[in-house]
Subunit: 94 residues, 2 copies
Amino acid sequence: MSIPFSRALEKWNRDEEFRKAHEALDEEFALARMIIEARLRAGLTQEELAERMGTSQSAIARIEGGHRPSLKTLERIAEATGSRLKISLEPASD
Amino acid sequence: MSIPFSRALEKWNRDEEFRKAHEALDEEFALARMIIEARLRAGLTQEELAERMGTSQSAIARIEGGHRPSLKTLERIAEATGSRLKISLEPASD
DNA sequence: AAGGTTTATATCATAAATGTTATAAGGAGT
DNA sequence: ACTCCTTATAACATTTATGATATAAACCTT
């Protein structure tokens, strides 16, 4: 796989074509995207976020690259980015 | 720790006092509660849910008892209980 | 209280996520 | 081209969640 999502999101507003190609993969990497967006909202680099979380830049890159984080890690990301993590299990619409 | 949440939720409507004592611990075990509720909504026992997920009853009990599941496991629970898993990282209200 | 059903606990091997360090690669600006 | 900043990848040790099995405890009905 290995798709540079962080860079992609940073390009988001500069490159319309890139944006479209990206939305196709949307569902699959929805979580990674949310994490990247939360970080960018907070105006942090991977390195800065890592520091706030007490981990390394490479660990952040790994997660943003698509590797599923644990809930504990997700919570730490939420706190470090000034975000609120919401999880729900609702009756499905099917 | 070791608090019998599943049983607690099953008592929910039969024992008002028990319910109140329970709500105090609410936030801490919110996720476990959601999972138990999803299972009960689907009318499943731990054993039945485990079967649908291809795992064991003890694994379900462990999770419902408070051990943090992985996202992969959460997704499997959602599917097996006919629920929809929603995760979001929103800008905090602080 | 006895038997059947359901849930909780314990133990241990395996799998997955993380922490860590180092290095490569991409992008922006001079 | 060359820096500088940032993100991606790789390898390995450690931690955490899972799978599996067995057993205990709680609940319910008669």
